[in-house]
Symmetry: C2
Subunit: 232 residues, 2 copies
Amino acid sequence: MKEGPDIAQIGSLIGDPARANILTALMGGRALTATELATAAGVTLQTASAHLAKLEAGGLLAQRKQGRHRYFTLADDGVGKLLEGIMGFAASRGHLRYRPGPKEPALRKARICYDHLAGDFGVRMLDSLIESGSISALGEGLSLTAQGETHLAAIGIDVSGLRSNRRPLCRSCLDWSERRAHLAGSLGKALLSNFLEKGWARRTENSRSIFFTPEGERRFLALFPLEMADTV
Amino acid sequence: MKEGPDIAQIGSLIGDPARANILTALMGGRALTATELATAAGVTLQTASAHLAKLEAGGLLAQRKQGRHRYFTLADDGVGKLLEGIMGFAASRGHLRYRPGPKEPALRKARICYDHLAGDFGVRMLDSLIESGSISALGEGLSLTAQGETHLAAIGIDVSGLRSNRRPLCRSCLDWSERRAHLAGSLGKALLSNFLEKGWARRTENSRSIFFTPEGERRFLALFPLEMADTV
DNA sequence: TTCATACTTCGATCGTAACCGAACCATCTC
DNA sequence: GAGATGGTTCGGTTACGATCGAAGTATGAA
Protein backbone atom coordinates (compact mmCIF):
# COMPACT_ATOMS: atom_id res chain seq x y z
CA MET A 1 0.00 0.00 0.00
CA LYS A 2 0.97 3.51 -0.88
CA GLU A 3 3.86 5.56 0.30
CA GLY A 4 7.19 5.60 1.98
CA PRO A 5 9.70 3.04 3.15
CA ASP A 6 8.68 -0.54 3.74
CA ILE A 7 9.22 -1.06 7.43
CA ALA A 8 7.30 -4.34 7.36
CA GLN A 9 9.96 -5.95 5.23
CA ILE A 10 12.81 -5.30 7.59
CA GLY A 11 10.54 -5.89 10.56
CA SER A 12 9.75 -9.38 9.38
CA LEU A 13 13.42 -10.03 8.73
CA ILE A 14 14.20 -9.23 12.34
CA GLY A 15 10.97 -10.74 13.59
CA ASP A 16 11.91 -14.36 13.17
CA PRO A 17 13.56 -15.75 16.30
CA ALA A 18 16.24 -17.64 14.44
CA ARG A 19 17.20 -14.60 12.40
CA ALA A 20 17.11 -12.40 15.47
CA ASN A 21 19.53 -14.77 17.15
CA ILE A 22 21.82 -14.61 14.16
CA LEU A 23 21.80 -10.83 14.19
CA THR A 24 22.35 -10.70 17.92
CA ALA A 25 25.29 -13.05 17.60
CA LEU A 26 26.78 -10.85 14.91
CA MET A 27 26.44 -7.83 17.20
CA GLY A 28 29.49 -9.36 18.85
CA GLY A 29 31.43 -7.75 16.02
CA ARG A 30 33.18 -10.91 14.90
CA ALA A 31 32.73 -12.46 11.50
CA LEU A 32 31.11 -15.86 11.98
CA THR A 33 30.66 -18.84 9.72
CA ALA A 34 27.33 -20.29 8.69
CA THR A 35 27.82 -23.26 10.97
CA GLU A 36 28.59 -21.11 13.97
CA LEU A 37 25.55 -19.00 13.29
CA ALA A 38 23.39 -22.08 12.94
CA THR A 39 24.29 -23.26 16.41
CA ALA A 40 23.93 -19.75 17.78
CA ALA A 41 20.44 -19.60 16.30
CA GLY A 42 19.53 -23.09 17.46
CA VAL A 43 18.63 -24.44 14.03
CA THR A 44 20.17 -26.85 11.57
CA LEU A 45 22.61 -25.74 8.96
CA GLN A 46 20.11 -25.93 6.10
CA THR A 47 17.68 -23.70 7.89
CA ALA A 48 20.35 -21.23 8.82
CA SER A 49 21.52 -21.13 5.24
CA ALA A 50 18.07 -20.07 4.10
CA HIS A 51 17.89 -17.39 6.79
CA LEU A 52 21.31 -16.07 5.91
CA ALA A 53 20.34 -15.78 2.27
CA LYS A 54 17.28 -13.77 3.21
CA LEU A 55 19.19 -11.48 5.52
CA GLU A 56 21.80 -10.86 2.89
CA ALA A 57 19.19 -10.16 0.22
CA GLY A 58 17.61 -7.71 2.62
CA GLY A 59 20.85 -5.82 2.96
CA LEU A 60 21.45 -6.66 6.61
CA LEU A 61 24.38 -9.01 6.19
CA ALA A 62 27.56 -9.12 4.17
CA GLN A 63 29.51 -12.25 3.47
CA ARG A 64 32.94 -12.99 2.25
CA LYS A 65 34.04 -16.46 1.42
CA GLN A 66 37.41 -17.64 2.50
CA GLY A 67 38.32 -21.07 1.37
CA ARG A 68 35.43 -23.32 2.15
CA HIS A 69 34.14 -21.06 4.86
CA ARG A 70 31.62 -18.31 4.46
CA TYR A 71 32.10 -15.55 6.95
CA PHE A 72 29.13 -13.34 7.72
CA THR A 73 29.10 -9.91 9.33
CA LEU A 74 26.59 -7.15 9.70
CA ALA A 75 26.51 -5.28 6.41
CA ASP A 76 27.70 -2.00 7.86
CA ASP A 77 27.55 0.40 10.76
CA GLY A 78 23.96 1.32 9.94
CA VAL A 79 22.78 -2.19 10.74
CA GLY A 80 24.52 -2.12 14.10
CA LYS A 81 22.92 1.20 14.86
CA LEU A 82 19.51 -0.10 13.89
CA LEU A 83 19.82 -3.17 16.08
CA GLU A 84 21.10 -1.10 19.00
CA GLY A 85 18.03 1.05 18.66
CA ILE A 86 15.65 -1.87 18.61
CA MET A 87 17.40 -3.52 21.53
CA GLY A 88 17.15 -0.37 23.58
CA PHE A 89 13.50 -0.07 22.76
CA ALA A 90 12.74 -3.72 23.47
CA ALA A 91 14.47 -3.45 26.82
CA SER A 92 12.52 -0.31 27.65
CA ARG A 93 9.26 -2.22 27.12
CA GLY A 94 10.43 -5.18 29.14
CA HIS A 95 10.73 -7.49 26.18
CA LEU A 96 13.57 -9.51 27.56
CA ARG A 97 14.39 -13.09 27.06
CA TYR A 98 15.79 -13.78 30.42
CA ARG A 99 17.40 -16.98 31.20
CA PRO A 100 19.18 -15.70 34.24
CA GLY A 101 22.11 -18.03 33.98
CA PRO A 102 25.58 -17.35 35.29
CA LYS A 103 26.36 -15.33 32.15
CA GLU A 104 23.79 -12.65 32.95
CA PRO A 105 25.77 -10.56 35.47
CA ALA A 106 28.94 -10.63 33.37
CA LEU A 107 26.93 -9.32 30.45
CA ARG A 108 25.59 -6.46 32.48
CA LYS A 109 29.02 -5.55 33.75
CA ALA A 110 30.83 -5.31 30.43
CA ARG A 111 29.91 -6.49 26.96
CA ILE A 112 30.57 -5.66 23.36
CA CYS A 113 27.97 -3.70 21.44
CA TYR A 114 28.84 -4.25 17.82
CA ASP A 115 32.32 -2.76 18.18
CA HIS A 116 32.41 -0.74 21.38
CA LEU A 117 32.12 -1.22 25.13
CA ALA A 118 28.69 -1.43 26.75
CA GLY A 119 27.20 -2.37 30.09
CA ASP A 120 28.09 -0.91 33.45
CA PHE A 121 31.68 -0.28 32.42
CA GLY A 122 30.68 1.35 29.15
CA VAL A 123 28.31 3.74 30.87
CA ARG A 124 30.85 4.53 33.52
CA MET A 125 33.49 5.31 30.95
CA LEU A 126 31.31 7.85 29.20
CA ASP A 127 30.17 9.41 32.46
CA SER A 128 33.75 9.83 33.54
CA LEU A 129 34.82 11.31 30.21
CA ILE A 130 32.03 13.86 30.46
CA GLU A 131 32.78 14.62 34.10
CA SER A 132 36.44 15.22 33.38
CA GLY A 133 35.63 17.54 30.51
CA SER A 134 37.05 15.29 27.84
CA ILE A 135 33.72 14.96 26.12
CA SER A 136 31.02 17.57 26.13
CA ALA A 137 27.38 16.52 25.90
CA LEU A 138 25.23 19.07 24.15
CA GLY A 139 21.64 18.06 23.71
CA GLU A 140 21.75 14.50 22.46
CA GLY A 141 25.11 14.76 20.78
CA LEU A 142 28.61 14.19 22.04
CA SER A 143 31.78 15.93 20.94
CA LEU A 144 35.39 15.60 21.90
CA THR A 145 37.04 18.61 23.50
CA ALA A 146 40.62 19.77 22.95
CA GLN A 147 41.34 18.67 26.49
CA GLY A 148 39.88 15.29 25.71
CA GLU A 149 42.09 14.93 22.69
CA THR A 150 45.24 15.29 24.74
CA HIS A 151 43.82 13.04 27.41
CA LEU A 152 43.22 10.30 24.85
CA ALA A 153 46.62 10.80 23.26
CA ALA A 154 48.11 9.97 26.65
CA ILE A 155 46.18 6.72 26.65
CA GLY A 156 47.57 5.99 23.22
CA ILE A 157 44.77 6.87 20.86
CA ASP A 158 45.43 8.87 17.73
CA VAL A 159 42.33 10.99 17.40
CA SER A 160 43.39 12.77 14.23
CA GLY A 161 43.62 9.41 12.51
CA LEU A 162 40.08 8.63 13.55
CA ARG A 163 38.82 11.97 12.32
CA SER A 164 39.82 11.21 8.76
CA ASN A 165 37.31 8.39 8.93
CA ARG A 166 33.91 9.16 7.42
CA ARG A 167 32.29 7.65 10.47
CA PRO A 168 31.30 9.98 13.31
CA LEU A 169 33.87 10.21 16.07
CA CYS A 170 31.52 10.23 19.05
CA ARG A 171 28.07 8.78 19.08
CA SER A 172 25.91 8.04 22.03
CA CYS A 173 24.27 4.64 22.15
CA LEU A 174 21.52 3.70 24.56
CA ASP A 175 22.59 0.89 26.84
CA TRP A 176 19.78 -1.61 27.29
CA SER A 177 20.95 -2.95 30.63
CA GLU A 178 21.81 0.39 32.23
CA ARG A 179 19.21 2.38 30.33
CA ARG A 180 21.67 5.19 29.92
CA ALA A 181 24.06 6.21 27.19
CA HIS A 182 27.48 4.80 26.51
CA LEU A 183 30.06 5.85 23.93
CA ALA A 184 29.86 4.53 20.38
CA GLY A 185 31.36 5.83 17.15
CA SER A 186 34.90 5.39 15.94
CA LEU A 187 36.24 6.66 19.25
CA GLY A 188 34.25 4.08 21.18
CA LYS A 189 35.62 1.42 18.93
CA ALA A 190 39.19 2.66 19.31
CA LEU A 191 38.93 2.69 23.09
CA LEU A 192 37.74 -0.89 23.29
CA SER A 193 40.42 -2.02 20.83
CA ASN A 194 42.95 -0.25 23.01
CA PHE A 195 41.87 -2.14 26.12
CA LEU A 196 41.99 -5.44 24.31
CA GLU A 197 45.43 -4.72 22.85
CA LYS A 198 46.83 -3.80 26.21
CA GLY A 199 45.53 -7.04 27.62
CA TRP A 200 43.29 -5.33 30.15
CA ALA A 201 40.36 -7.33 28.89
CA ARG A 202 39.48 -10.06 26.43
CA ARG A 203 36.46 -11.30 24.64
CA THR A 204 34.76 -14.48 25.74
CA GLU A 205 34.17 -17.28 23.35
CA ASN A 206 30.45 -17.72 22.88
CA SER A 207 29.06 -14.61 24.44
CA ARG A 208 29.12 -10.89 23.95
CA SER A 209 30.48 -10.33 27.43
CA ILE A 210 33.93 -8.85 27.96
CA PHE A 211 36.16 -10.24 30.66
CA PHE A 212 38.44 -7.79 32.47
CA THR A 213 41.52 -9.15 34.21
CA PRO A 214 41.90 -7.99 37.81
CA GLU A 215 44.82 -5.80 36.82
CA GLY A 216 42.96 -4.50 33.78
CA GLU A 217 39.91 -3.66 35.84
CA ARG A 218 42.03 -1.77 38.36
CA ARG A 219 43.61 0.29 35.62
CA PHE A 220 40.33 0.89 33.85
CA LEU A 221 38.68 2.17 37.01
CA ALA A 222 41.68 4.38 37.76
CA LEU A 223 41.62 5.80 34.26
CA PHE A 224 37.92 6.55 34.37
CA PRO A 225 37.15 7.70 37.91
CA LEU A 226 33.76 8.94 39.00
CA GLU A 227 33.53 11.86 41.41
CA MET A 228 30.02 11.29 42.50
CA ALA A 229 28.79 8.01 43.83
CA ASP A 230 26.21 6.31 41.65
CA THR A 231 23.36 8.59 42.54
CA VAL A 232 21.07 7.99 39.61
CA MET B 1 17.56 -18.43 23.76
CA LYS B 2 19.80 -16.87 26.32
CA GLU B 3 20.57 -13.26 26.87
CA GLY B 4 19.49 -9.73 26.25
CA PRO B 5 16.47 -7.95 24.85
CA ASP B 6 14.03 -9.77 22.61
CA ILE B 7 14.30 -7.95 19.31
CA ALA B 8 12.37 -10.69 17.53
CA GLN B 9 9.23 -9.83 19.43
CA ILE B 10 9.07 -6.24 18.36
CA GLY B 11 10.40 -7.14 14.94
CA SER B 12 7.49 -9.46 14.34
CA LEU B 13 5.09 -6.81 15.61
CA ILE B 14 6.37 -4.41 12.98
CA GLY B 15 6.88 -7.15 10.43
CA ASP B 16 3.25 -7.71 9.57
CA PRO B 17 2.13 -5.47 6.67
CA ALA B 18 -1.20 -4.60 8.26
CA ARG B 19 0.44 -3.62 11.53
CA ALA B 20 3.15 -1.69 9.70
CA ASN B 21 0.44 0.26 7.91
CA ILE B 22 -1.24 1.03 11.20
CA LEU B 23 2.00 2.28 12.71
CA THR B 24 2.83 4.32 9.64
CA ALA B 25 -0.60 5.89 9.74
CA LEU B 26 -0.10 6.81 13.39
CA MET B 27 3.21 8.43 12.52
CA GLY B 28 0.96 11.20 11.25
CA GLY B 29 0.68 12.22 14.90
CA ARG B 30 -3.10 12.21 15.04
CA ALA B 31 -5.10 9.90 17.29
CA LEU B 32 -7.12 7.59 15.06
CA THR B 33 -10.03 5.27 15.72
CA ALA B 34 -9.99 1.54 15.15
CA THR B 35 -12.18 1.92 12.09
CA GLU B 36 -9.92 4.52 10.53
CA LEU B 37 -6.91 2.36 11.18
CA ALA B 38 -8.63 -0.64 9.66
CA THR B 39 -9.16 1.16 6.37
CA ALA B 40 -5.65 2.61 6.51
CA ALA B 41 -4.30 -0.89 6.93
CA GLY B 42 -6.56 -2.34 4.28
CA VAL B 43 -8.14 -4.99 6.47
CA THR B 44 -11.54 -5.51 8.06
CA LEU B 45 -12.39 -4.17 11.44
CA GLN B 46 -12.14 -7.52 13.18
CA THR B 47 -8.65 -8.10 11.86
CA ALA B 48 -7.55 -4.61 12.79
CA SER B 49 -8.93 -5.10 16.26
CA ALA B 50 -6.73 -8.11 16.76
CA HIS B 51 -3.70 -6.26 15.49
CA LEU B 52 -4.37 -3.28 17.70
CA ALA B 53 -4.62 -5.52 20.73
CA LYS B 54 -1.26 -7.05 19.93
CA LEU B 55 0.40 -3.71 19.34
CA GLU B 56 -0.93 -2.39 22.59
CA ALA B 57 0.16 -5.46 24.52
CA GLY B 58 3.59 -5.00 22.97
CA GLY B 59 3.80 -1.47 24.32
CA LEU B 60 3.77 0.26 20.94
CA LEU B 61 0.32 1.78 21.15
CA ALA B 62 -1.74 3.62 23.69
CA GLN B 63 -5.48 3.92 23.55
CA ARG B 64 -8.03 6.08 25.23
CA LYS B 65 -11.68 5.48 24.85
CA GLN B 66 -13.97 8.37 24.31
CA GLY B 67 -17.63 7.51 24.13
CA ARG B 68 -18.01 4.62 21.81
CA HIS B 69 -14.79 5.43 20.00
CA ARG B 70 -11.37 4.09 20.75
CA TYR B 71 -8.59 6.45 19.84
CA PHE B 72 -5.17 5.01 19.28
CA THR B 73 -1.81 6.78 19.25
CA LEU B 74 1.80 5.73 19.37
CA ALA B 75 2.56 4.93 22.99
CA ASP B 76 5.20 7.63 23.40
CA ASP B 77 8.05 9.48 21.79
CA GLY B 78 10.23 6.40 21.94
CA VAL B 79 8.01 4.56 19.51
CA GLY B 80 8.15 7.43 17.06
CA LYS B 81 11.90 7.50 17.33
CA LEU B 82 12.11 3.77 16.76
CA LEU B 83 9.93 3.92 13.66
CA GLU B 84 11.86 6.87 12.29
CA GLY B 85 15.01 4.84 12.67
CA ILE B 86 13.59 1.83 10.90
CA MET B 87 12.15 3.95 8.11
CA GLY B 88 15.48 5.63 7.55
CA PHE B 89 17.19 2.29 7.46
CA ALA B 90 14.63 0.72 5.14
CA ALA B 91 14.96 3.64 2.75
CA SER B 92 18.72 3.37 2.82
CA ARG B 93 18.46 -0.24 1.64
CA GLY B 94 15.96 0.59 -1.04
CA HIS B 95 13.07 -1.14 0.71
CA LEU B 96 10.39 1.18 -0.60
CA ARG B 97 6.85 0.44 -1.40
CA TYR B 98 6.50 2.75 -4.29
CA ARG B 99 3.24 3.37 -5.86
CA PRO B 100 4.33 6.55 -7.53
CA GLY B 101 0.94 8.13 -7.51
CA PRO B 102 0.23 11.83 -7.44
CA LYS B 103 0.78 11.88 -3.69
CA GLU B 104 4.44 10.91 -3.95
CA PRO B 105 5.95 14.32 -4.80
CA ALA B 106 3.91 16.14 -2.19
CA LEU B 107 5.18 13.70 0.40
CA ARG B 108 8.76 14.32 -0.58
CA LYS B 109 8.29 18.05 -0.43
CA ALA B 110 6.81 18.35 3.04
CA ARG B 111 5.32 15.78 5.36
CA ILE B 112 4.82 15.15 9.02
CA CYS B 113 7.17 12.81 10.82
CA TYR B 114 5.36 11.90 14.02
CA ASP B 115 5.14 15.52 15.18
CA HIS B 116 7.66 17.56 13.23
CA LEU B 117 8.33 18.67 9.68
CA ALA B 118 10.15 16.34 7.28
CA GLY B 119 10.89 16.11 3.58
CA ASP B 120 12.59 18.71 1.44
CA PHE B 121 11.21 21.56 3.54
CA GLY B 122 12.21 19.94 6.80
CA VAL B 123 15.77 19.40 5.66
CA ARG B 124 15.96 22.92 4.29
CA MET B 125 14.76 24.37 7.55
CA LEU B 126 17.47 22.65 9.55
CA ASP B 127 20.15 23.53 7.01
CA SER B 128 19.15 27.15 7.16
CA LEU B 129 19.07 27.21 10.95
CA ILE B 130 22.57 25.79 11.04
CA GLU B 131 23.83 28.15 8.35
CA SER B 132 22.48 31.18 10.17
CA GLY B 133 24.09 30.10 13.42
CA SER B 134 20.83 29.47 15.22
CA ILE B 135 21.64 25.84 15.74
CA SER B 136 25.09 24.40 16.08
CA ALA B 137 25.79 20.88 14.93
CA LEU B 138 28.49 19.18 16.93
CA GLY B 139 29.14 15.61 16.01
CA GLU B 140 25.75 14.01 15.72
CA GLY B 141 24.00 16.30 18.16
CA LEU B 142 22.25 19.59 17.69
CA SER B 143 22.01 22.42 20.16
CA LEU B 144 20.32 25.77 20.11
CA THR B 145 22.57 28.84 20.35
CA ALA B 146 21.76 32.04 22.24
CA GLN B 147 21.40 33.73 18.87
CA GLY B 148 18.99 31.04 17.80
CA GLU B 149 16.89 31.56 20.88
CA THR B 150 16.28 35.22 20.06
CA HIS B 151 15.71 34.31 16.43
CA LEU B 152 13.00 31.85 17.41
CA ALA B 153 11.46 34.26 19.89
CA ALA B 154 10.95 36.62 16.95
CA ILE B 155 9.05 33.89 15.15
CA GLY B 156 6.92 33.46 18.21
CA ILE B 157 8.33 30.41 19.92
CA ASP B 158 8.93 30.37 23.65
CA VAL B 159 12.06 28.31 23.99
CA SER B 160 12.29 28.53 27.75
CA GLY B 161 8.87 26.92 27.98
CA LEU B 162 10.10 24.04 25.87
CA ARG B 163 13.20 23.59 27.95
CA SER B 164 11.20 22.76 31.02
CA ASN B 165 10.00 19.73 29.11
CA ARG B 166 11.81 16.50 29.86
CA ARG B 167 12.03 15.82 26.17
CA PRO B 168 15.19 16.92 24.33
CA LEU B 169 14.90 20.31 22.68
CA CYS B 170 16.76 19.53 19.47
CA ARG B 171 17.13 16.13 17.97
CA SER B 172 18.27 15.22 14.52
CA CYS B 173 16.14 12.74 12.63
CA LEU B 174 17.22 11.05 9.42
CA ASP B 175 14.92 11.95 6.56
CA TRP B 176 14.19 8.91 4.44
CA SER B 177 13.38 10.82 1.27
CA GLU B 178 16.23 13.31 1.43
CA ARG B 179 18.62 10.98 3.22
CA ARG B 180 19.79 13.88 5.35
CA ALA B 181 18.87 15.13 8.78
CA HIS B 182 15.93 17.28 9.69
CA LEU B 183 14.99 18.79 13.03
CA ALA B 184 13.04 16.76 15.58
CA GLY B 185 12.61 17.16 19.33
CA SER B 186 10.30 19.52 21.11
CA LEU B 187 11.63 22.44 19.05
CA GLY B 188 10.85 20.68 15.81
CA LYS B 189 7.37 20.03 17.07
CA ALA B 190 6.90 23.64 18.15
CA LEU B 191 7.99 24.97 14.79
CA LEU B 192 5.55 22.83 12.86
CA SER B 193 2.73 23.74 15.23
CA ASN B 194 3.65 27.37 14.71
CA PHE B 195 3.32 27.08 10.92
CA LEU B 196 -0.01 25.32 11.21
CA GLU B 197 -1.35 27.90 13.66
CA LYS B 198 -0.31 30.77 11.44
CA GLY B 199 -2.13 29.13 8.55
CA TRP B 200 1.02 28.82 6.47
CA ALA B 201 0.33 25.15 6.02
CA ARG B 202 -2.23 22.53 6.85
CA ARG B 203 -2.38 18.80 7.15
CA THR B 204 -3.99 16.73 4.45
CA GLU B 205 -6.70 14.33 5.29
CA ASN B 206 -5.53 10.81 4.58
CA SER B 207 -1.86 11.31 4.09
CA ARG B 208 1.16 12.39 6.04
CA SER B 209 1.92 15.14 3.54
CA ILE B 210 1.73 18.79 4.58
CA PHE B 211 0.22 21.32 2.21
CA PHE B 212 1.75 24.81 2.19
CA THR B 213 -0.37 27.67 0.90
CA PRO B 214 1.39 29.85 -1.70
CA GLU B 215 1.65 32.67 0.81
CA GLY B 216 2.82 30.32 3.53
CA GLU B 217 5.45 28.81 1.28
CA ARG B 218 6.74 32.25 0.37
CA ARG B 219 7.08 33.19 4.02
CA PHE B 220 8.63 29.89 4.95
CA LEU B 221 11.29 30.18 2.27
CA ALA B 222 12.00 33.76 3.27
CA LEU B 223 12.32 32.78 6.91
CA PHE B 224 14.69 29.93 6.16
CA PRO B 225 16.91 31.08 3.33
CA LEU B 226 19.82 29.08 1.99
CA GLU B 227 23.04 30.80 1.01
CA MET B 228 24.47 28.05 -1.02
CA ALA B 229 22.64 26.38 -3.86
CA ASP B 230 21.87 22.73 -3.21
CA THR B 231 25.36 21.46 -3.65
CA VAL B 232 25.12 18.19 -1.85
C1' DT C 1 -37.50 0.87 24.02
C1' DT C 2 -35.64 0.45 19.64
C1' DC C 3 -32.30 1.16 16.31
C1' DA C 4 -27.67 2.33 14.82
C1' DT C 5 -22.82 2.71 15.34
C1' DA C 6 -18.23 1.28 17.20
C1' DC C 7 -15.82 -2.35 18.47
C1' DT C 8 -14.64 -7.23 20.32
C1' DT C 9 -14.78 -12.25 20.51
C1' DC C 10 -15.39 -16.74 18.46
C1' DG C 11 -14.70 -20.19 15.06
C1' DA C 12 -13.13 -21.88 10.88
C1' DT C 13 -10.30 -21.42 6.75
C1' DC C 14 -6.27 -20.84 4.36
C1' DG C 15 -1.42 -19.52 2.96
C1' DT C 16 2.88 -18.99 3.93
C1' DA C 17 7.15 -19.76 5.78
C1' DA C 18 10.01 -22.21 9.05
C1' DC C 19 11.87 -26.54 9.50
C1' DC C 20 14.47 -30.81 8.63
C1' DG C 21 16.10 -35.18 5.94
C1' DA C 22 18.43 -36.26 2.09
C1' DA C 23 20.95 -35.44 -1.75
C1' DC C 24 24.08 -32.44 -4.02
C1' DC C 25 28.19 -29.07 -4.84
C1' DA C 26 32.67 -27.06 -3.35
C1' DT C 27 36.97 -26.90 -1.10
C1' DC C 28 40.66 -28.69 1.54
C1' DT C 29 43.73 -32.80 3.24
C1' DC C 30 46.21 -36.76 2.52
C1' DG D 1 42.34 -39.93 -6.80
C1' DA D 2 39.49 -40.91 -1.73
C1' DG D 3 37.69 -39.04 2.28
C1' DA D 4 36.27 -35.28 5.18
C1' DT D 5 34.32 -30.86 6.12
C1' DG D 6 31.48 -26.60 4.98
C1' DG D 7 27.69 -25.13 2.72
C1' DT D 8 23.55 -25.11 -0.58
C1' DT D 9 19.35 -26.92 -2.89
C1' DC D 10 15.21 -29.72 -3.06
C1' DG D 11 10.96 -31.78 -1.43
C1' DG D 12 7.61 -32.59 1.80
C1' DT D 13 5.67 -31.74 6.38
C1' DT D 14 3.91 -28.93 9.79
C1' DA D 15 2.47 -25.20 12.50
C1' DC D 16 1.35 -20.74 13.24
C1' DG D 17 -0.93 -16.60 12.40
C1' DA D 18 -3.53 -13.54 9.36
C1' DT D 19 -7.90 -13.26 7.66
C1' DC D 20 -12.95 -12.82 7.59
C1' DG D 21 -18.09 -14.16 8.58
C1' DA D 22 -21.07 -14.25 12.17
C1' DA D 23 -22.48 -13.41 16.59
C1' DG D 24 -21.95 -10.72 20.80
C1' DT D 25 -21.14 -6.33 23.82
C1' DA D 26 -21.11 -1.49 24.68
C1' DT D 27 -22.31 3.30 23.87
C1' DG D 28 -25.06 6.78 21.84
C1' DA D 29 -29.35 8.63 19.30
C1' DA D 30 -34.36 8.90 18.56
